[in-house]
Symmetry: C2
Subunit: 243 residues, 2 copies
């Protein structure tokens, strides 16, 4: 049976890949992915065939993977972070309905929420939500409901896709919504280029975050009511009772 690995490569640095993901890529004849991610791993897997499709061509990319597998090749479809967090794993199963003779194996990786958290300190620790601000495939009303629901229930919130050229004011809109329930003084943090060249982070208040311009390579963290700044690090305690 032909096999496709759908593998998360982590935030970007080779040493943040798991051994399992490295093994899958080594076992593969073809490595397929979005151009940027393929460029990140290319040098570490010499002799492999690489295929890329641009952003927004995700279905084509899945079909390409299955067609290559049908030729008898072992294929790795790579995603940044974790393949199952805003990644290709779901679409691969959906497209895979047409390819019952191809086996899928999902290999998890370090997603931006936990990779970025390690840079900021310990912002997640307790209950948290991931919310993508991209309304390309999700109606904005749904995103709004999630921002409000998560804020009201005092979750730590991690925002993916906080901005793009077309959505330059979405983070501001999101902060305004969260401030209906979260204090403007809530401790927040941003991390950019996690695990890649130019990695950096900043800790600030929610009020300050509202007026901060971020790009699509940034992951944003909004604390819960207990989150604090400790020596420049963003830290959420484990519980609500004193330990």
């Amino acid at each position: 049976m032909s096999k496709i690995y759908v593998a998360g490569i982590g935030p970007g640095a080779y040493d943040q890949m798991t051994g399992k993901a490295i093994r899958a890529l080594n076992e593969s004849d073809v490595i397929i992915g979005y151009t940027v991610y393929v460029d990140l791993v290319k040098e570490h897997f010499p002799g492999k065939e690489f295929m890329t499709t641009p952003m927004k061509k995700e279905v084509d990319r899945c079909v390409l993977a299955f067609e290559e597998a049908r030729k008898g090749k072992t294929v790795s479809m790579i995603c940044s972070g974790d393949a199952g967090v805003y990644g290709m794993a779901g679409l691969m199963y959906e497209v895979g309905v047409n390819y019952p003779d191809v086996e899928l194996e999902i290999i998890s990786g370090v997603t931006a929420a936990t990779g970025g958290a390690a840079v900021l300190g310990a912002p997640l620790i307790h209950d948290f939500c991931l919310i993508s601000l991209s309304d390309l495939l999700t109606p904005w009303e749904k995103i709004e409901a999630r921002l409000l629901g998560a804020s009201q229930a005092d979750f730590v919130i991690c925002l993916y896709n906080p901005s793009s050229k077309k959505r330059h004011d979405y983070l501001k809109k999101a902060c305004d919504l969260m401030m209906r329930y979260k204090s403007p003084e809530t401790v927040c943090g941003i991390v950019y280029h996690i695990g890649r060249e130019g990695e950096g982070s900043r800790v600030m208040t929610l009020k300050e975050l509202r007026d901060t311009q971020v790009d699509m390579f940034t992951t944003v963290f909004i604390g819960n009511s207990q989150t604090k700044e400790l020596n420049g690090k963003m830290v959420t305690p484990r519980g609500y009772r004193n330990v």
Copy 2:
């Protein structure tokens, strides 16, 4: 300056550790952790000094790490999954306030939510929440508010610590709360012993989950309104519009 790595070792299998975590442990003189996690890695790091403290002695474990570091040793504090997701990273920063001469570096890993998701198929994919059902350090009212808020906003929900000897009916209580907003037919999944011997999973409805007995080695996934079962896998589509 003395250094402590706070490293997530992933779900348990050595090949799910990142290269960075392996390097940190190799560089360390002492590896400290909860007994079960130390036993998982021991064989792969021969010649290291290992120290353990039992469950519920987390503050002692942190103090131990800092005291060892102060002796000039390089220390790794290990956690299962990711060190920043219900892990020791937060407490290490809190205890670390008393040890300004010791540097902390957090190394992220694959947490049970994404490790378990890979076993079930692609249950997360889109916006999701992690909620721990343990009320040891969090008032139950807070957990309840989060279960309700997350369900109302149609998040995929991943439950950590779904059960214990003292909390054998908590999953049932949680399911009843989630069913106020989620359909009893919502696709759910459980994964046990992720990445370890005896790994297994099951896909079922929320109604069935309510009457399923799970243990503390199980991670539970509750889909959103779009989650479906595809050939025995739990799959959440990427968006709410047709791609």
